[in-house]
């Protein structure tokens, strides 16, 4: 077991900059009543951000190029069918991981 002081500083500062955006809205919103338009805007955040995160995982960004991660896109298609059919998160994730493991080891 070892602890490097640079690593420790990185961990401490990264934790700090991560926790601020997590808790700040909870502090700001406490004493405010948000206008209806803002609440409506916030109601679109889940679908938008989850779509963004799925797409982010399908992209490979390097220094000066942006490419599509075809294996991820390919395996996401059957995974989407499972997600739609079973409406079960665990089923979706287990199937996805299995399909990707099969793809990488066999194909």
């Amino acid at each position: 077991m070892s602890m490097n002081s640079t690593v420790l500083t990185v961990i401490a500062l990264s934790a700090l900059v991560t926790v601020i955006p997590r808790i700040l809205p909870f502090i700001l919103v406490r004493n405010l009543r948000l206008p209806d338009a803002v609440m409506k805007w916030l109601s679109f955040v889940p679908v938008c951000i989850l779509t963004a995160l799925v797409i982010e995982n399908m992209l490979i960004q390097e220094e000066s190029s942006l490419t599509i991660d075809w294996p991820v896109l390919l395996i996401l298609l059957p995974t989407a069918i499972i997600a739609y059919k079973f409406r079960s998160l665990s089923m979706t994730v287990v199937t996805g991981v299995l399909l990707m493991a099969i793809y990488r080891n066999i194909l």
């Binding site: 679908v47 938008c48 960004q61």
Partner: protein, 238 residues
């Protein structure tokens, strides 16, 4: 809580929060193990991996921190990357915070401090089903996720001595699969009258993500695209 006379599946108790976390656990476990393995491969000690997952508690940022440490990047660059990658949490917290204003300040901090994409996804779905959320339910959800995430990272760190390539096991794919699953759960609760609106917004998201990722880091693109397209949603929704 156990004597709760209300239908337990419909309550917002701590125990129900734990139950609602269970479907997401395989995702945390897969990615956590993958992280532990990558951490070990990046020459971090088990103690460092444990501290990182317990204090930063954010999948993508933890992977980036390992990669940048290994590459010998300056401290400021690593911390800035972690900040940018996790900045989207501001949006997640902002979307949920208005539903906790009646809870105490400490409960609010507690809910926010353990916010993840997955717990946000589950909470947003619960909100659509139930119409409200409670801090106790959220703590049950968050603490279960936090516990399993840290245990999985440690298991991965230990097994990293024998396994070097978590990708061969498909473990990294748990993340996109989980986001897709959460997205479908969200869409399930979209009223029929709004299907067209949501389809439009999702197409806009695809276009915005592709376009913005050409100009910015994908982590920034996630935030900008969401901010822009959610605004489009407000304009289009009458």
């Amino acid at each position: 809580m156990l004597t709760d006379s209300v239908g337990r599946s419909d309550s917002l108790t701590f125990v129900q929060g734990f139950r609602d976390c269970v479907p997401t656990l395989f995702g945390y476990i897969s990615v956590g193990i993958a992280f532990g393995i990558v951490g070990t491969a990046s020459h971090l000690s088990i103690l460092e991996i444990t501290l990182l997952s317990a204090s930063v508690y954010a999948g993508a940022a933890q992977f980036a921190i390992c990669a940048l440490l290994l590459a010998g990047s300056p401290l400021s660059a690593i911390v800035f990357s972690a900040f940018i990658i996790n900045l989207r949490n501001f949006l997640l917290s902002a979307a949920l915070a208005p539903h906790f204003t009646k809870e105490s300040f400490l409960h609010n901090i507690g809910v926010g401090i353990l916010m993840t994409d997955e717990s946000f996804g589950v909470a947003a779905t619960k909100l659509k089903q139930f119409g409200s959320l409670s801090a106790h339910w959220m703590h049950g959800l968050n603490l279960t996720a936090y516990l399993f995430w840290n245990l999985s990272c440690i298991v991965g760190a230990v097994s990293g001595q024998w396994i070097s390539d978590p990708e061969a096991w498909g473990l990294d794919f748990a993340l996109p699969a989980m986001f897709l699953g959460l997205l479908f759960l969200q869409l399930e609760h979209v009223p029929t009258a709004k299907w067209k609106l949501y389809a439009t917004l999702m197409l806009c998201m695809i276009a915005a993500m592709l376009g913005l990722s050409l100009l910015f880091s994908t982590h920034i693109a996630v935030i900008l695209a969401t901010v822009i397209v959610a605004s489009v949603g407000v304009v289009l929704d009458k």
